[in-house]
Homo-oligomer: 206 residues x 2
């Protein structure tokens, strides 16, 4: 009888502990998603607004200088356009996941949600990583140039444009690292989902 | 008694069916991994061996032309070096996963394996996507140039180099798509792992 009571107490306390632990984990995941959203959204906005105009003296006729106004815009480079699209979609994904987290108690199929989230997280990781890879190496080219291909650096002329681009890249990399952590947690959550226990009790009472 | 026998028959047949289904899935996963390894390894090798020498006439002194030999190598571009490293690591990862699949019956903790595989798959997806993103936009620059940054195209001079690079990129993208499919399957496998703990308790009270 004592054993029976002990078992009952264990049965009652463990779901409470499990729910508390799950809530703690959900809270961590929520904060990570929010931080990730802020990082990717900042990266998108900073890069999308990145523009610098520069007036350079290109020649001198007599004593009067001939100037030309050059503009550096993110739209001029396909890699930066892709970076903005990738980070924008990553922000949107995080926002949707936050909304899903808030309204998940209204969902009927929580199991499906549990498996779809890491899959979408992983696809967004791929997209964000591709955007970051493309923009990083294009930024590196803008900063250092490539003597073999005779591509001159442009950061000596457009300093502010390059600094803002660097800021967007740093924010995006923070977002990518957070997204990687979130995806690992989503996979671990799927692994640790509550296990069903089916008990068959056959009592033969003559 | 009839019910008991029926239950027993169900209990015996379902694990067999589950094992057969798992073997079919494992076989699909094995073939996908092999195809992914071949794609990423081809991409690595084709890009790593990509080199083209070209002798161009740069000037004419009197009647004798002055020639210069120019070389295009993947090492000259950091994005292509990263592409080779990323695809090389993706190939190595797939090879290790194939080896793990062959020797998994010797492992003591299969559950740990089940959760670690999708995590590593996802990290490799991020790496391969970053490599592909970087190389694709650098290749696009080599093909079309960028008039705003005054970066001239180089594919008009190094046609073979660009064609081989394109081949490596296509192989790498096939590898990335296969890796995405594999990661989705790894996550689904984790979701579908046997969870039921069946306890049969028979209490015979006379």
């Amino acid at each position: 009888m004592a054993l029976e009571n002990g078992d009952k107490a264990k049965d009652e306390s463990s779901p409470v502990a499990a729910v508390a632990a799950a809530m703690m984990k959900d809270w961590t995941l929520f904060m990570l998603r929010l931080a990730c959203f802020l990082a990717t959204a900042s990266a998108t906005i900073v890069m999308a607004l990145n523009k610098e105009k520069k007036t350079l003296v290109v020649a001198t006729i007599g004593t009067s200088p001939v100037t030309a106004t050059l503009t550096a815009k993110f739209q001029y480079d396909p890699a930066f356009v892709f970076f903005v699209v990738a980070n924008g979609l990553a922000s949107l994904h995080n926002l949707l996941m936050i909304a899903l987290d808030i309204f998940k108690h209204k969902l009927s199929d929580k199991g499906l949600c549990l498996v779809i989230i890491p899959i979408f997280d992983m696809l967004i990781v791929a997209l964000a990583a591709a955007g970051d890879g493309a923009a990083t190496f294009m930024a590196e080219l803008g900063k250092n140039g490539n003597s073999h291909a005779r591509w001159n650096k442009i950061c000596d002329k457009f300093g502010t444009y390059c600094e803002r681009g660097e800021g967007a890249l740093i924010a995006s990399f923070i977002g990518l690292i957070l997204l990687l952590v979130i995806t690992v947690l989503s996979i671990l959550k799927l692994h640790a989902k509550p296990k069903l226990t089916t008990t068959h009790t056959s009592s033969v009472i003559p």
